[in-house]
Symmetry: C2
Subunit: 233 residues, 2 copies
DNA sequence: ATGAGCAGATAGTAGCACTATCGATAGTGC
DNA sequence: GCACTATCGATAGTGCTACTATCTGCTCAT
């Protein structure tokens, strides 16, 4: 398979594929001569994975490169999990925004303290460099700084319960895979795409719950039950 | 309060504040003369909200502008919810990537069908333009296209259960607010920041669950229970 | 042997989130 | 009154990211 065929097979333009090769998103093809190379099914599935990470997962090219790099070097599964997690960190700005004072360990913020307590109460044992820790703590601190009432313990615990639920499902679905290389791909894709799936479902559940709690005042347009039995008017 | 004071109060540079004024992220101050204006506490809290949306929520300036625009026009609460939801759509690329064939209604994808069935089984009634619908459907379709086994019904249902849990918590915490304008701000902040919080907690829960399922082979570095009783080495 | 295709390199583009500067004014300390 | 700083609005520039275009040798099928 040559590059133009790889391009038509994946729907990605040839210059973009070259760009991906340069950026280490795509492993090089097998050289047949100094300026010819052969690509195969592994390249097709890699390109598809990369597009999924970029488009659906919202990762930057650099983040995606770290994820696929973890797949190529055959790390233990738990490491792939860690790398995938660390590569994502939803808002890219946060990935590096929390380490400003590296020398003097500052006092923990209120959010950090609460998250630590939450881990304690839930029995969550994790490495201190887990990217979720600053992420969650930052949200709590930000919320408090906004001057609206802070996130209550009961709400936070609901979120934690929900996180436990999906994490158990995530791990169960990984454990169901039998082949190792497919397992790592599942971990990478699942970690990244799971965030998006959960966010999407949350939108739906929010709106549904909103209608249950605050019924529409009058005979306003009632929502349908699905997206299929509708046509846009 | 003048612009430079607003700047020091919020930690945002003056040129950036001007930029926010131009981009409708910040409402204009009260004019005292053709080239003087007074700012007040509402501007401080607005800037803080905007920074939270941009930095923690990961929104683009245009998305944040839509959210704060919804706050300014005093829409009913349910509309604020909708606008905040529609402004986010985690990966910005997806917000407009799903409408390519506007004239001919295409056959629904497998993912759309599954999400519709999920809404049915959960009793979720939502508008067909809920942004979560294409988001979730797209994830399912993408996952299937990757060639790994698709997301099982039990996993999907776990995610839906988790979504229900946090949505109920979200609505409950909104209902607990008494003042209306604060309520809308709570909705906006909660919708956007909730995604990030949930993603962070998911990372933590995943790692904790991973250690439960796949204990470390040997006397490898055992994870601590929190981020507080640790120092980086 | 010739024209299309390829690899690698360099350079260019579009969009985004600011950031810098300018000219004309307005308020502040002395 | 007068220097001096600050402000407004406008325009233009910067740095980064994700591509995209072009050019130069090559190589392979016809």
């Amino acid at each position: 398979m040559r590059m133009s065929e790889l391009s038509t097979a994946t729907g990605v333009a040839v210059p973009t594929l070259k760009f991906y090769l340069r950026e280490q998103l795509l492993h090089a093809g097998e050289r047949t001569s100094p300026n010819q190379a052969q690509y195969d099914a592994s390249h097709v599935e890699r390109v598809r994975l990369v597009r999924a990470l970029l488009e659906v997962g919202g990762l930057s090219v650099a983040q995606a490169a770290r994820v696929v790099g973890a797949l190529d070097s055959d790390l233990p599964l738990s490491s792939v999990f860690g790398v995938a997690q660390r590569a994502v960190s939803i808002p890219a700005a946060l990935a590096s925004a929390d380490d400003e004072a590296t020398d003097a360990e500052p006092a923990p913020t209120a959010g950090q303290t609460r998250i630590a307590a939450l881990c304690e109460s839930r029995g969550w044992r994790v490495y201190p460099n887990n990217p979720g820790l600053p992420l969650a703590a930052r949200v709590l601190d930000t919320y408090a700084a906004l001057g609206l009432g802070h996130i209550s313990d009961t709400v936070l615990d609901r979120y934690a319960q929900a996180a436990d639920l999906v994490a158990a499902a995530d791990l169960a679905s990984v454990a169901a895979v039998d082949e190792l290389t497919e397992m790592t791909r599942t971990v990478a894709a699942g970690t990244v795409l799971g965030d998006t799936l959960l966010a999407g479902l949350r939108r739906i559940a929010q709106e549904a719950e909103s209608f249950r709690r605050f019924p529409l005042p009058d005979g306003a347009p009632a929502p349908g039950t699905s997206l299929l039995d509708e046509q846009d008017c």
